[in-house]
Symmetry: D2
Subunit: 147 residues, 4 copies
């Protein structure tokens, strides 16, 4: 459905730190991975420079609540949910679940707010309406799916 | 003063992404850098395994608001402020200022909540009171410094 | 076969830099990913702390030749080949192929030399013979597969 | 002197991995840091887009020999030496020394070969002579400084 996307990845050694767990900043990389795969699932690329006009999606807000650590070789499901859709921005939630636990357990909860921007020919960004082709394909998740 | 710390770093090439700006996840690395340098400024190390008992500082919450992008070779000041001190946790704010702008401009605002933990001999973490020697050295910043 | 392993990954946005291509240091992360998946394919984990004695695999040499850049969303195959097996070390080659090219094209060639080590109870590492169970499972690739 | 450059950095927590040491791929980031600071010491920026024509410096080869691990809060000196200067490429050596050891100890030895390129208006790279202003400023290190 165009309001959610799930992807699974296995924790890499280089994503851990000396505490033996996934470094907290990497959860934001995981969110991005899910966001971009969500876009691909809709038939778009987050970096579609060939679009006219090309749009970008800088973040204006990012956050994460950490409940349990992730470790090397853990399998983590990142479940993206569209929480809000405005004319120029999108808000996503991300539920991180460790799948190699019995039962699987939610280990973190993330949030991103991204703004649709265009660049003028000097590279200056300004907020712009989400292109219609994209906006039409994205829905807000049903309230009961949102935490 | 034991309620704040400032550090300056220059944006590295490898911290940028194909959008030509510092990747948003790296702001969380910058926060950590300031947090650890703050600890060193107090005479501690965040990874003081020699302490008895050794404590760790996992994050339970992290967030960042992004106002302006940072680019390669920008000089960024990270200003840590202690926003809250509880028996088992600390809350920090981080003001990111781009110094090579006239005048310097605030480009992002971050927040971390960290919990003091000890590990039992099986490696299991549990929240613990902040060791007295550390707690005594840390103050909460005056309200007028907090955004 | 226990002398090679192939894995495919898609280039992430956060792996690119402001030149619009995968940052060169990330090829070493890709090598590690293939190395660890190779170990799992043999029934081991690179971080098997439960082994007696536990062994680690620090790198003593790493190198990479770069032929063509990789970009966001490229599909890259990492083909690990065991180039040499000594009593205490392994040497791997890595052929990087961009699959979303017609025909697929080799974009880089990597090499890692890793040493089997044990840690004494103070954490000090020393080289050690590769455990028999592991050494028996690993073969050197036929010469005609090695570049 | 325009054939060498030294920079010192302190190992960050996020640069370590679960083995408790600096992840091996990060040494290539450290090399880059020294390379770019070397350029700045000559009055250039590695990313000088304002040059006419703008040049880039992709790597064609990178390697590192690891002798001893680096750990959190270690102070590491990265000593860049120009090993070779050709019309279209430069070769650098990097000596990594851990300063907080008595006496300081060499922990790694790196090498980079970078090629000077220009981009045509479609973004395609091709090797190009090093701009005279840059080439004139860079010398090859005396043989007795090279390992």
């Amino acid at each position: 459905m165009p309001y959610e996307f799930k992807t699974v990845r296995q924790v890499e050694f280089y994503e851990t730190d000396m505490a033996g767990i996934v470094h907290y900043a990497n959860f934001f990389r995981y969110m991005e991975t899910a966001e971009h795969a969500f876009f691909r699932s809709l038939g778009f690329s987050i970096a579609a420079r060939q679009a006219a006009p090309a749009v970008g999606w800088p973040r204006v807000h990012a956050e994460c609540d950490y409940v349990q650590p992730l470790r090397f070789e853990d399998e983590v499901e990142i479940h993206l949910l569209v929480a809000q859709k405005k004319s120029k921005s999108l808000s996503y939630l991300f539920r991180f679940r460790k799948l190699n636990a019995t039962p699987p357990v939610e280990v973190a909860l993330g949030k991103l707010i991204v703004v649709c921007v265009t660049h003028d020919r000097h590279g200056k960004m300004s907020a712009a309406p989400i292109p219609k082709a994209i906006a039409e394909r994205i829905q807000v998740a049903p309230a009961d799916l949102l935490p």
